[in-house]
């Protein structure tokens, strides 16, 4: 089975199998054609295949007449910020986020600095399928520049947005694990900007991932141990492009990535009340946080693009997902790991509470997440079949199927990035959540 996922905001595949120079050039040519000869920024995470895709994307954008500003290794939220700041037509981030090192992907960013919306994504896909690439004549071929001195404007903006004085005077020590991804070295700048003392792990931009670049408790052992030893205020794990964060408390407890969004919301919504956007897979914790602040929770389809487009359309205060991605509309329409860490630290400083103290204020649920392989050509029909497992009146069909009951919920959906069906259940009781997931998995495996 060759793995290739084409979505509205980009294309993702296994390098050497489906992710080839030609595929990247074709997609980037489609995107360059869509940009209509405007300026484009590109950035990559630290994966070994990054320079190959960077070269392919540069060539393609240039050939369609786009001037290319190459940020080199750079986290996606900084690229997204700079697209707006520099008035570019768009950008390409070369990163597979939380996927393993064998993957890579192109994510397309529009002039607003967000992932392409559905209509823009459909445009690019049409151009790709039609192979209607603009071929610039010689005098219009885009120049390719390296750009490595624009990050400072991002740190300045971040420092202005946060309560810098509160964070600085708290004099925090923090442990951060960027997983040798795009966040490596950038976390030094982050801590310098916020006046925190950094203890960094896996902070070399080598692209060698010592664990899956997925911020979640099972990868957090090292950070947890170091937090305890160093007496740090908090620990953070980042994915390979710094769009997702998971948190480790000062006592070394590795918090589920589900906590990131409700924790940030419990602070930010107090200052900036407004609706909050999330997907059908995220924990009910957010409903509790929102209810206490009398704001609405709006659930949309899974994925950064949907969450952000919905945040802009609903003029929501925030958007986020249970995987640790958080966006704040007042800062930028992007899942931004730096802002997320900054708000958690600010919250801890302003409220004068430890992370575990802040966590106590949020009702506890048990969430179980599993995934099962399913051939791409039948994922949606298999997911749809699973409706039979539930009472029709409990079903919400936003992205796959979600069954909502008093004590908990189950969400079943086709992964947008892998040939997998994801099954998530949440319940007050850990056993019941596991039971729900097991029942669904048993049903699905009969169908595959």
């Amino acid at each position: 089975m060759k793995l290739l996922k084409i979505g509205i905001s980009g294309v993702r595949g296994i390098v050497g199998e489906t992710m080839t120079p030609e595929l990247a050039i074709d997609f980037a040519s489609a995107f360059g054609t869509f940009l209509d000869s405007e300026r484009a920024l590109i950035a990559r995470d630290t994966r070994a295949s990054g320079p190959m895709l960077q070269a392919a994307v540069s060539a393609a954008l240039s050939s369609t007449g786009c001037e290319v500003l190459d940020l080199g290794v750079c986290p996606t939220p900084i690229l997204q910020y700079l697209v707006r700041k520099l008035g570019a037509g768009g950008g390409v981030s070369i990163t597979a986020g939380h996927n393993g090192a064998e993957w890579n992907a192109l994510t397309f960013i529009n002039r607003e600095g967000t992932y392409l919306n559905e209509f823009q994504g459909a445009d690019v896909l049409d151009l790709y399928h039609l192979e209607q690439f603009h071929k610039a004549p010689l005098e219009k071929v885009g120049r390719i520049h390296l750009l490595d001195d624009h990050q400072e404007t991002y740190w300045e903006a971040l420092a202005r947005f946060l309560d810098l004085q509160a964070i600085r005077s708290a004099g925090f020590k923090v442990v951060i694990d960027p997983c040798n991804g795009a966040g490596a070295k950038f976390v030094d700048e982050f801590c310098r900007a916020l006046g925190c003392e950094l203890v960094a792990v896996n902070n070399e931009p080598t692209g060698f991932f010592p664990h899956d670049p997925e911020p979640r408790p099972r990868n957090a052992g090292e950070v947890s141990a170091i937090v305890k030893i160093t007496g740090a205020r908090a620990g953070f794990l980042l994915n390979s492009d710094v769009s997702r964060v998971s948190i480790v408390a000062e006592d070394g407890e590795t918090l589920s990535e589900e906590y990131t969004l409700p924790l940030v919301a419990a602070y930010y919504l107090d200052k900036n009340p407004g609706p909050i956007i999330t997907n059908p897979s995220a924990s009910r914790m957010i409903e509790d946080v929102a209810a206490r602040r009398q704001v609405r929770v709006i659930r949309t389809k899974v994925g950064q693009s949907h969450a952000i487009q919905s945040m802009l359309a609903e003029e929501a205060a925030m958007a986020g997902e249970g995987s640790g991605g958080v966006a704040v509309r007042g800062f930028q329409p992007a899942f931004d790991g730096f802002l997320t860490m900054g708000l958690i630290l600010e919250m801890s400083a302003v409220r004068e509470k430890t992370i575990s103290g802040l966590v106590k204020d949020i009702p506890k649920y048990h969430i179980v997440k599993e995934k099962v392989y399913c051939p791409p050509f039948k994922v949606h029909s298999v997911v749809s079949e699973a409706k039979k497992l539930f009472r029709p009146e409990d079903l919400v069909l936003i992205d796959g199927i979600r069954a909502e009951r008093i004590d908990g919920w189950v969400h079943i959906r086709a992964s947008a990035t892998e040939p997998m069906i994801r099954v998530v259940a949440e319940n007050k009781s850990k056993e019941k959540a596991q039971e729900d997931v097991d029942r669904v998995l048993a049903f699905i495996s009969q169908l595959i």
């Binding site: 199998e17 060539a59 090192a101």
Partner: protein
């Protein structure tokens, strides 16, 4: 008959196409992927000439090489002979040069180099093109990726070889004043340093390597008016004009007269044979003057098909002391078995220093022929059909069909040949007088165009 021409050429000398039409990044990446598959995961030198589309195409090439597990060594803008020498000395598995030689600016292309710093020969090209056409490239998984490297001083191996091969002390003593026209091409990155090492007082024109071809890149007299004027104004001893990728050289005498690119090889050859007699190799089209020079030195001349690689292979096969082409391409194997405008310029300066004669005096010692060249547009299929027809018509004459059709008359000759790089038939006539050469060109032009009208 239509004269539709194709803007893409794939052949023994690589790939050439027009930016915005046929030469896309997809095509370049596919060829690089095929080349990476062919040479097998080694170090591969990547270089470009000064054309503004160079970075775009070069990035596509680098993507193709990285994806097939090769380690690209990006040496930036470099003269083609420097690229070849560097490929050899760095013990690379091969090289890809992003260049379209003398083609107009909207063109670019890829040339493929083998491990010894030689262009792929025809059978290697066939193997390589088979891989390209089959389309099965050996893409590697992410854990097999190699890191790209850059080279701080990629021109050094070439420059060192040049200075070792030449009598630098003797040249330096003369403090020649030289006007050099680099055509804003790749030669501009080495010519100033090279001439400085030879103690020359140098006047540079068109020496920005930005690919703005202010003149047509072909170093033929009609494109050299600026340098001719400059040689006179600056009272220089000699003028040197390179083509855009710096493998060919035209010479301007101290009175501002272009010698004609045919004489570059004849002069360099005469000088080399005086120092080190031995066999010489030229292509079928090269001026008869080389036969006279070789005869005087008592050495044999071997002729080959057109195409640099054919001459180079024969040079190596015959252990020749010098070889080349009548288009200003001098191959001095002591530096490297490739056309090299720097070898040519160095030999001419050394010849002037050793003889104490001016360049026009040296020119006058070479038997005089007038060479006139012309070309007629024709698709490759038409070109072959037309030349084939003429071959039958002139079967009774003294003809040579090694490459196209060459007809030897008593004091003159004419050579007709479908080009490998452009959709044209090339006509070359050589005679003792301009009138006679012009008459030959006109008469064969008419022969070719007749069936068209």
């Amino acid at each position: 008959m239509t004269t539709k021409s194709h803007s893409l050429k794939v052949g023994v000398s690589g790939v050439r196409g027009v930016i915005g039409e046929s030469l896309t990044p997809q095509l370049a990446a596919r060829f690089a992927s095929a080349f990476g598959t062919y040479v097998g995961r080694g170090k591969v030198v990547v270089a470009q000439d000064a054309r503004p589309s160079g970075p775009m195409i070069k990035n596509a090439v680098i993507a193709g090489l990285l994806a097939t597990g090769c380690q690209p060594v990006d040496i930036g803008i470099a003269p083609i002979p420097s690229v070849l020498v560097f490929t050899k000395e760095s013990q690379s598995a091969g090289g890809v040069a992003v260049t379209a030689s003398h083609n107009p600016p909207e063109w670019n292309g890829l040339k493929f180099l083998g491990p010894r710093g030689l262009y792929l020969n025809p059978s290697q090209v066939e193997e390589f093109l088979d891989i390209y056409h089959q389309g099965e490239f050996s893409f590697v998984l992410a854990d097999k990726y190699k890191k790209m490297t850059a080279e701080p001083d990629p021109l050094a191996p070439h420059l060192t070889r040049l200075l070792k091969a030449l009598d630098v002390a003797m040249i330096r003593e003369r403090k020649f004043k030289v006007v050099a026209d680099c055509c804003n091409g790749a030669g501009a990155v080495l010519m100033p340093g090279f001439l400085e090492a030879l103690g020359c007082r140098t006047v540079l024109i068109n020496a920005r390597p930005d690919g703005a071809f202010v003149r047509d890149s072909e170093p033929v007299p009609e494109n050299l008016t600026e340098i001719c004027r400059s040689v006179v104004e600056k009272k220089a001893d000699v003028g040197f004009a390179q083509d855009a990728d710096a493998d060919r050289l035209a010479i301007i005498d101290e009175r501002g007269g272009p010698l004609g690119e045919e004489l570059t090889l004849a002069l360099a050859m005469k000088h080399v044979l005086a120092k080190t007699p031995g066999p010489v190799v030229v292509n079928i089209s090269t001026t008869r003057a080389v036969d006279d020079v070789a005869l005087a030195a008592g050495v044999p001349v071997y002729r080959t098909k057109i195409g640099e690689i054919h001459v180079v292979e024969e040079v190596l096969q015959r252990n020749a002391v010098i070889g080349g082409e009548g288009n200003g391409g001098v191959i001095w194997p002591r530096v490297h078995a490739c056309r090299d405008s720097f070898s040519a310029a160095g030999l001419i300066l050394e010849m002037m220093a050793a003889s104490g004669k001016t360049i026009s005096e040296l020119r006058d010692e070479i038997p005089f022929y007038v060479v006139l060249k012309d070309k007629i547009e024709a698709t490759s299929e038409e070109a072959h059909r037309i030349v084939g027809g003429l071959r039958r018509r002139y079967a009774g004459e003294n003809i040579d069909t090694l490459d196209g059709l060459k007809i030897q008359f008593a004091d003159s000759s004419v050579h007709l040949r479908p080009s490998n790089t452009e959709p044209v038939i090339r006509i070359m006539a050589e005679a003792k007088t301009r009138d006679e050469a012009a008459r030959l060109v006109a008469s064969f032009r008419e022969d070719i165009l007749r069936p068209k009208s």
